[in-house]
Symmetry: C2
């Protein structure tokens, strides 16, 4: 096992590849988002699928978040282990009912549903275990993934939840994932269309005497749109906390605090520089990560264990084996999913190591 570097180690002496957090930028991002929701009725429930790190979730809660969002039951178990109480698993949990109800017994859990059979399964499991569970009916507002259709199908499923023993109907989940990375005008228009669709479902339920106290959705790309548009009253933004090269294009008010530190391991010919950071430590579904602060140097290929870079003016670039390069990930959530720890940097030295404890808890 790799020995952990001592706190105070200069960043360039950390073994590579390493996933870095710039602590100052991280704190600015955390505070900025917290402040936005401080003065609003809408709550922030940050999505922990981004960071998978209990230490970061606790920071978000200290700054006023109403609870935490998780994608997976395994992530929620990790968050409950550090004493986090208010947890939404923003997905359908099918099977695993014994684990789910065990977790419901030790925190204030909420899940999304979109089928009657799942409602029955959850209700039976909770009854057998003597626990209760908050439930959001997930509505498809145009993303075409999970979620019942709005209107009558939503109404019918909400009634099922209301009638199901040991389940508490908490409201609706409506995630506009098809909008979060669109350009601003499209995001704005899309949010209006989705909000109207969602409001109609809320109205139907209120007419039936079923209060919709919670409408949860939203992301970093839409926090100030859905976060400012009824009926949403809870936003699940995740990426804002660490950011990446993709999100910073639509959300420049948050700064990229995440980077991958790599070593040059080879420069066999002057124009070609090879690092030890390949696709096993940086993802590329949103494009190849590029080096930070090195002009005229481009990553042209990631293989499993290597990054291949080409220098535009080789004679002007002094990089040699042993030198370090930092890369800006193009997708933070999936890049973090490849690492076990964040190396937290301030003023050029290591000031903390945060465990990405929920990494790999995909079950």
């Amino acid at each position: 096992m790799t020995d952990e570097p001592r706190l105070g180690t200069p960043v360039d002496r950390i073994d590579t590849p390493a996933l870095l957090i710039d602590l100052d930028l991280f704190q600015k991002n955390a505070s900025r988002m917290a402040q936005y929701f401080d003065t609003r009725a809408t709550a922030l429930r940050p999505h922990a699928k981004t960071h998978k790190c209990p230490r970061i979730a606790l920071t978000q809660l200290e700054l006023g978040a109403c609870g935490i969002t998780c994608a997976k039951l395994g992530e929620a178990e990790v968050m409950a282990d550090v004493g986090i109480r208010d947890i939404l698993i923003a997905n359908q949990i099918v099977g695993k009912i014994d684990r789910l109800t065990n977790l419901a017994a030790r925190c204030d859990l909420m899940v999304a549903v979109d089928s009657a059979t799942n409602v029955t399964e959850l209700s039976r499991g909770c009854q057998e275990k003597g626990v209760s569970l908050r439930v959001l009916v997930e509505v498809d507002i145009g993303m075409d993934r999970c979620g019942v259709q709005s209107g009558e199908p939503t109404r019918a499923l909400a009634h099922r939840v209301v009638d199901a023993p040991s389940l508490h109907f908490a409201g609706l989940q409506a995630y506009e994932g098809h909008l979060v990375l669109q350009e601003r005008k499209k995001r704005e228009r899309g949010i209006q269309v989705a909000a109207e669709m969602l409001q109609q479902s809320c109205d139907l339920l209120e007419q039936d005497g079923i209060p919709v106290s919670l409408v949860s959705g939203g992301g970093t790309g839409t926090y100030d749109l859905s976060g400012n548009t009824p009926p949403w009253n809870e936003i699940q933004a995740g990426s804002y906390i660490l950011m990446d090269a993709t999100y910073v294009k639509v959300r420049p008010e948050f700064r990229p605090a995440l980077s991958v530190l790599a070593s040059v391991i080879s420069r066999p010919v002057p124009e070609r520089i090879v690092t030890d950071a390949g696709m096993k430590v940086m993802t590329h579904e949103f494009g190849l990560p590029q080096p930070i602060g090195v002009d005229g140097l481009s990553l042209t290929r990631l293989s499993e264990e290597h990054g291949k870079l080409i220098a535009e003016h080789p004679a002007q670039l002094a990089l040699q084996p042993g030198d370090k390069i930092r890369f800006l990930p193009t997708h933070g959530c999936t890049t973090i999913n490849l690492h076990d720890r964040f190396y937290v940097i301030q003023d050029g030295v290591l000031v903390d190591i945060w465990s990405i404890t929920a990494r790999g808890r995909a079950q």
Copy 2:
């Protein structure tokens, strides 16, 4: 933490997403490759970057492999922890010299080099620690990644190694990664070109009185080409042991033993089926993984936590939330890198769980 399922659990009762190994197919692949090299002077040194699993490495050694190949120092440390002696790190290790020499003190280690400064650094570190290290000079035979050019640059660097205290010049490393997935004729021609280039470098060294006892390279795509062509005498094949949808096209004699078990979590409209296996558990750089044994059902999109499938004839497909689907990965090495354990299956039940101990040991 997820409780591990008991041995004997039916495959459909394992929590999902889960990475499965079909034990019978795994054993057939392992035996087939071992048998190929049984009767040849060329040795098999399987690449552990594929499986990152000490249990599998030990199986490969029991079947006659001469040692193990690793991509990273951290992987080699894990393999040494279970008593494996003969380990090649088939990359340049730059920095981390203290860790490298600690490892050299407890196993019979070999590394690749392609720069004089790295040779100096390794030699100094080994001298200080009082250990010796076997070194391969990496030659670029057309992959355009790491490696010195063949001919004079190779000769010059080999002399450096020979002259460096505490280093033992073991031979050359030459990996034809640009050929392994080409169609057969191109692979054959490419191997001949690369072999001639490599032979010239060997001849230069032999003329200087420097014996080239080892020439290591090759992969699953070329094991019977470079494995049957001098001067190669050691093959680093990795993927053959578990295979994937990409490699099986060029190597049908090995069978895909790897799959990802997923649950249907939603079928909100008849034609759309959503599973709990997204890009955090299956990679897609070689294409989207497809379901195994379900006609008329295609994975059309992976998001982080979900797989979206479209049914060609919805009325004929009975899948409902809770049902299981298995996917064939398109790239085994990077998919395995997302998981912590293999669930080993035989006759439809869980017969073992193998820890992917070196996952995440990218440093």
